[in-house]
Amino acid sequence: MSTANFTNLKALIVEDNPHMRALLRSLLQALGIKTVLESCDGATGFAEVCIRNPDLVLTDLSMEPTDGIALTRQIRQGGCSPNPFVPIIMVTGHTERQRVEAARDAGVTEFLAKPITIQNLTSRLTEIVERPRQFVKCEAYFGPERRRRKSESHTGPWRRGEDFKDDLEIR
């Protein structure tokens, strides 16, 4: 949902740790976001997404019974998802490459590493507002474009629109 006044933004925090949830809520409110919704796992988080249609989702990665990766997939690809383009920030202490890649492949917009700092949080939000990413929809993926920079050493696979300049069909 597009909002003209940022204080009307609705953010949803999905996090199982009550202390982290409270901290994130206070930080978002300190940034001027008045409506902060909360859920303690991915399943209730998705229900909240469907009912309240938030403008921004911050989710933890590891939660029981439904984790942040499953929640992201539901938001991006679930039939009843009200806004599959909503920005999703994954808040995680996981530095394991595999987990981060799985979250990225589910369609996460930004990562926010724990420990949380205000600089990191504001820089992720700034990125979302200032440089919204194009979305990619193909058989295997739906979500924000995953390659952010052009790399000379990248030899494929080629999936970006600009990769198909010659056989591009503009709708």
């Binding site: 949902m1 597009s2 909002t3 003209a4 006044n5 940022f6 009307n8 933004l9 740790n17 202390h19 982290m20 409270a22 901290l23 206070s26 930080l27 300190a30 940034l31 001027g32 403008d55 921004l56 590891s62 806004n83 383009f85 909503v86 202490g93 530095t95 394991e96 724990k114 420990p115 949380i116 700092t117 205000i118 600089q119 949080l121 504001t122 939000l125 700034t126 979302i128 507002v129 200032e130 919204p132 990413r133 194009q134 979305f135 990619v136 929809k137 193909c138 058989e139 474009e145 696979p157 080629w158 999936r159 970006r160 629109g161 990769d163 198909f164 591009l168 069909e169 503009i170 709708r171």
Partner: protein, 169 residues
């Protein structure tokens, strides 16, 4: 915009083609707030006000982790170490957070390799987390050095397990 690749149809949806989070003046105002000194100060106060509560929570997770370690309850140790690595840094216990992160990585890697986690390695981490949580300043720096050394020990242990697996295969 759509493109045909060898893997099928790819549709690119530009930012102006989907509903933005915030637009126009609202976005400009939000960006001003996000980058303002006052906001940084206000948010820093939020963290400061919550610090005691976060410390208390971390100490309670440490006590529960010690109980789990006494009972050789691996999933309990992992669960508490996971909570510690998430909160300790924000609570001002960076070293404890780093060591807890190392312990989580070790337990995950050992499980992935199908190997039994070494009780001595776990005990060293649990002890180091407890000590680091009661240390600040110079002692905190010492905690960070311990975190690095424990990470080296874990890497050596996991290499050894990997080596054994390769030999037996």
């Amino acid at each position: 915009m759509a493109a045909n690749s060898h893997t099928g149809t790819v549709k690119i949806i530009a930012p102006h083609e989907y509903p933005p989070m915030i637009t126009g003046e609202g976005a400009a105002n939000f960006l001003r707030v996000l980058t303002s000194y006052e906001t940084a100060q206000r948010a820093a106060r939020v963290i400061e006000l919550r610090r005691d509560q976060l410390c208390e929570a971390v100490l309670s997770y440490i006590a529960q982790m010690e109980d789990a370690a006494s009972a050789s309850n691996l999933s309990g140790i992992f669960a508490q170490a996971h909570e510690i690595r998430g909160l300790a840094g924000t609570a001002g216990m960076e070293a404890a957070g780093r060591i807890a992160d190392g312990l989580c990585k070790y337990l995950s890697a050992a499980a992935d390799l199908g190997s039994v986690a070494d009780a001595a390695v776990i005990a060293l981490h649990v002890d180091a987390i407890t000590r680091a949580s009661s240390s600040a300043g110079e002692a905190g720096k010492f905690g960070n050095r311990v975190a690095v050394e424990l990470a080296t020990l874990v890497a050596r242990k996991l290499n050894a397990v990997n080596g054994l697996k390769t030999k037996s295969a």
